[in-house]
Symmetry: C3
Subunit: 160 residues, 3 copies
């Protein structure tokens, strides 16, 4: 597939909506988060273990599970592999690193994953119509040590 300079403008806009999405999550800016999703957007976090249907359900889940101040978080994406599948649709793969801290309980989660997103261009603006990730690994950290709680190969048939 040949990419043109004009395609790069679309790809840059697609990256930008993901950056706004993550900034909204980490700063608990739910109005900003809404603006990055289509009304019928779906989410499948943790390889579908946490699935949500519709923008309201996604935003509601994140708002309820990510309180201000009691929980601190940083979600960082890397390695965008973006494909324009039509003038108004695209897929995006991202490598995610995330850290979640709950200071009061001395809890910390660190994880790595791959996001697989789908996007549509509506009225000239790219929005996320599906987002989901599968863990490379996830671990919790406490005074007593480190426990790996999930990883990429955890769901394989016959895995230990």
């Amino acid at each position: 597939m040949t990419i043109t300079p004009e395609d790069l403008v679309e790809i840059e806009a697609i990256k930008a909506v993901k950056y706004r999405y993550l900034r909204a999550v980490d700063l608990r800016d739910w109005e900003l988060l809404e603006s990055t999703l289509t009304e019928d957007a779906t989410a499948a976090y943790a390889a579908g273990k946490l699935s949500y249907d519709g923008r309201d359900a996604i935003v509601g889940f994140l708002r309820d599970s990510m309180p201000v101040k009691e929980m601190l978080s940083a979600h960082r994406v890397h390695h965008p592999e973006i494909e324009l599948t039509s003038p108004t649709t695209a897929t995006a793969r991202w490598a995610l690193d995330d850290t979640v801290i709950m200071p009061a309980s001395n809890f910390q989660l660190r994880g790595a994953a791959y996001y697989s997103d789908e996007l549509v261009k509506v009225d000239g603006e790219w929005k996320i119509s599906h987002t989901g990730y599968r863990r490379l690994y996830e671990e919790t950290v406490s005074r007593d040590g480190v426990t790996v709680t999930d990883h990429w190969w955890a769901d394989e048939v016959g895995s230990a």
Copy 2:
């Protein structure tokens, strides 16, 4: 705002100067750092708690506080949200993750923040005219555990 392929060339150059700035910081290359800043550049690290006026003051502060070998550091930026505000001015928001290690004292700092930078194009070259960040969180790590020392909401009126 509509972006053109030519704008992307400017945006790429703006990203490049930030990458050089951070490489200079982490490799303690103060001459390289100077080349990324305007002479009258200002800095407001940690939401203004550490403010510096002029390139010499910024470079001097970083050189004095970041010794070679006794301190190891990695500052990584993600999620560039860059806006060309005129042909020769721009703003840039970045998500930062930073790690600072002092092996001799078993000290480690880990943090996350948002940078808000301003840039100007002088003689065809983009330079940083203002840089500053506000913490999402900051924590120190030692044998005895982890302490959160700063976070995004720490300065709110009435915060606990």
Copy 3:
């Protein structure tokens, strides 16, 4: 050096091959890894302490040292500084953060480095012809604490 929008298309393709290379490493997809390297590619990991000559040697080393499931890893690159040195050759510098976890032995390695890569365009496709990195730092983590095992300045003459 002046960059054109068409150059950005090449630069985007050069980034993409690195993202595939790292995805192949972290997902242990050795066939995908092979597709990112020239047959005569060379590697010099850890400032040349680990050197490999030829694609088969590189892939063989990584396959042997990175088992599925017993080892979990996330290699993330940032700050691409890419230079097109001719229509079919390029150099790329990247900032790397890597985490390697061996859950069974409670082992964790965290590191930061700079990659220096060389690429060639063969039959319209960019491939990596040389890859290598030098550590900013590297540390292992266990229940008993943290040990810095390598860093940027470790090889300097007369270093402690």
